[in-house]
């Protein structure tokens, strides 16, 4: 849980316990603060949680195993469409989420293996191009599989997807407490997503500090040397692809249930790149960095959208730059500054594939920076 504390580096280094509590408080209290600015902001937080899950999953592939994947959003799509197929009026199937979500994860993992198998020998740029193609293929399939048999409903997408129902409790309906307090479903979704994020963090961290995590890092650092110490690079790469995809699949299923609607345009190349940007921005290979990156890059454009228009109107009496244009502009600027000033991200990765403190009498763990 040290990573938790390091999400606030300046505090985390000196008072890890305090930093940990601050992080927990922020995580739990965020929607309560967001609601002060309007419901939209809680919604944005919900999406931020989904992006955090995506970033965690992609980080496993790119940050840990060093396999540059530009088509990661395809797994998100597989999860979302699995949910849409199996829990909507589209095929008139309404399976409960605890069946559909694992199925989505399973299909995404399968898709990960399908992508992994032919690309085992590729590295770097070459791998990036193939994965990019894979992502586009999935999207184009979704777009066109409405003919001759209608499977995906094409560009119109699938709507009226069942919401999450936890133990008979539909969390898309507001909860009334007493007479005048109602808890909006956006809040409920936030806490459900947060639970999934926390679970993802725990699972990924367990993988990182294990023989599997070390094997991935070994392949990333030097594939030939990894082979020379007996690591089966083929299996380990496939494992990275499929496990990474699983997180995407789960996030996709949650996305479908949350939105109640999926269409191919949600899974464009730009989305893949956005998730990759979050990782690079936050600090590739570092869980805390990746999470901060995902939160920052989900929130910043929204802040901009809400600030840019009023500010421009106040200063120039009219809107000169469309927020959408400004968004890309500032995002690129942020990336360039980042690469110049902090090339390894906001919270740079430090090696964490072991727990020396496991061995009695070793204080090595405390000396870590």
């Amino acid at each position: 849980m040290n990573e938790l504390a390091l999400a606030i580096p300046w505090l985390g280094k000196r008072h890890p316990a305090a930093a940990r509590w601050v992080v927990v408080a922020i995580a739990l209290g965020a929607p309560l603060i967001a609601i002060l600015f309007g419901k939209t902001w809680v919604r944005i937080l919900d999406f931020a949680m989904l992006y955090v899950m995506l970033a965690i999953g992609l980080n496993l592939v790119v940050g840990f195993a060093g396999l540059l994947d530009l088509g990661y959003i395809a797994f998100y799509a597989v999860g979302a469409y699995t949910f849409a197929f199996l829990a909507s009026p589209h095929f008139d199937i309404h399976l409960p989420f605890w069946i559909v979500l694992p199925m989505g994860a399973g299909f995404a993992a399968l898709a990960g293996i399908i992508l992994g198998l032919p690309t085992l020998r590729l590295r770097g740029d070459y791998l990036a191009i193939v994965t990019l193609g894979f992502g586009e293929i999935v999207r184009i399939f979704l777009n066109n599989l409405n003919h001759p048999i209608n499977i995906t409903n094409g560009p119109q997408g699938i709507n009226m997807i069942d919401p999450l129902v936890l133990f008979g409790w539909d969390i898309s309906r507001p909860v009334k407490i007493g007479e005048d307090i109602t808890i909006n479903s956006l809040f409920l979704y936030y806490y459900v997503f947060l639970a999934f994020v926390v679970l993802s963090i725990i699972l990924v961290q367990r993988l990182q500090i294990s023989r599997v995590g070390r094997a991935w890092a070994a392949i990333r650092d030097d594939e030939l040397a990894a082979k020379a110490i007996g690591i089966n690079t083929r299996n380990m790469k496939l494992l990275a692809f499929s496990l990474g995809a699983t997180f995407g699949g789960v996030a996709g299923g949650l996305f479908a249930a949350f939105q109640g609607f999926v269409s191919p345009e949600s899974f464009s190349l730009m989305e893949s790149i956005a998730v990759l940007t979050m990782i690079v921005f936050g600090g590739m290979g570092n869980l805390a960095g990746v999470i901060v990156g995902a939160l920052a890059l989900t929130a910043l454009p929204e802040v901009l959208r809400h600030v840019a228009v009023p500010v421009q109107q106040a200063v120039f009496d009219r809107v000169i730059l469309d927020p959408e244009v400004l968004r890309m502009l500032l995002l690129s600027l942020a990336m360039i500054l980042m690469m110049l000033l902090r090339p390894s991200g906001m919270i740079p990765a430090y090696s964490r594939y072991s727990r020396p403190e496991l061995v009695v009498g070793k204080a090595a763990g405390e000396a870590r920076k």
Partner: protein, 260 residues
């Protein structure tokens, strides 16, 4: 003495160039076996064939009585042969400890599911691996750098770490590719001690080396390669006086003393 590795007529060609031609040699259990020869003699090629990086064009390698799989490095490691590289190849961004722990990969068996669930067995194995890795770092003498990211280690310590990582795979034969390259006299002396300790602890060592002094002092027996052929194989004292070896090294005008 028992034969550990029996290379029979190993041949490897790259296009028109025959890098290894009919090389046969026998390494006995418990010895330090040297493989020397001028640049381009085929030493590293032999290494790569032995460790499964290359598929030989002819011949076979029998290790512990069974034929080694060719072209499958991870199976060669499983069989009990570990190697280091001429140009050090560590996992740069991992700490020294983690490098050695990664070396334990093939001798540990926790699967992804048991890791995700953190079963008692998986936890116990992780603790054991950590402990063993510390022991190995101590063994090669760099325990105090356990937490240092490996790319920040000094050159000599990187070499030691690579040896520790190779030892972590629990090999019967440790193949060192020019371990003394780039080392100063003190570092070389310490390396010699380390190799002797390793041999003393029951691991057979195959040593490729340019430093003739080190080879002559350390090896029980050695083979000399020249243009892909084995031109001599014997104890150092005999090899030193071999005319073919002297001419290979010195172009035919040298004396035995100069070769040593």
């Amino acid at each position: 003495m028992i034969t550990l590795l029996d290379a029979r007529n190993v041949t490897k060609r790259f296009g028109g160039l025959t890098a290894l031609s009919d090389v046969s040699l026998t390494i006995r259990k418990g010895e330090v076996y040297g493989l020397i020869g001028p640049n381009g003699a085929g030493k590293t090629t032999f290494f790569n064939v032995l460790t499964g990086a290359y598929v030989p064009d002819g011949g076979e390698l029998v290790f512990n009585g069974t034929e080694l799989p060719s072209g499958k490095p991870e199976q060669v490691v499983a069989a009990g042969i570990a190697r280091t590289f001429q140009n050090i190849r560590l996992f740069r961004d991992m700490t020294a400890l983690e490098n050695v722990m990664a070396g334990h990969h093939i001798r540990s068996r926790a699967n992804p599911l048991s890791i995700l669930l953190q079963t008692r067995k998986a936890k116990e194995e992780e603790r054991l691996i950590t402990e063993r890795a510390f022991e190995l770092l101590r063994y090669v003498g760099i325990e105090r750098f356990a937490d240092t990211v490996s790319k920040n280690l000094s050159y000599g310590d990187q070499r030691r770490l690579e040896i520790a990582r190779a030892l972590a795979t629990e090999p019967q034969l440790l193949a060192l590719d020019e371990p003394a390259a780039g080392m100063n006299a003190t570092e070389t002396a310490r390396l010699r001690e380390l190799v002797q300790t390793i041999r003393h602890d029951g691991v057979t060592v195959l040593l490729i080396e340019h430093d003739v002094k080190l080879v002559m002092g350390l090896c029980d027996r050695l083979a000399v390669l020249d243009f892909g052929r084995k031109i001599a194989e014997d104890v150092p004292a005999v090899v030193q006086k071999n005319d073919a070896v002297i001419s290979a090294y010195l172009g035919g005008h040298g004396t035995a003393g100069a070769a040593a």
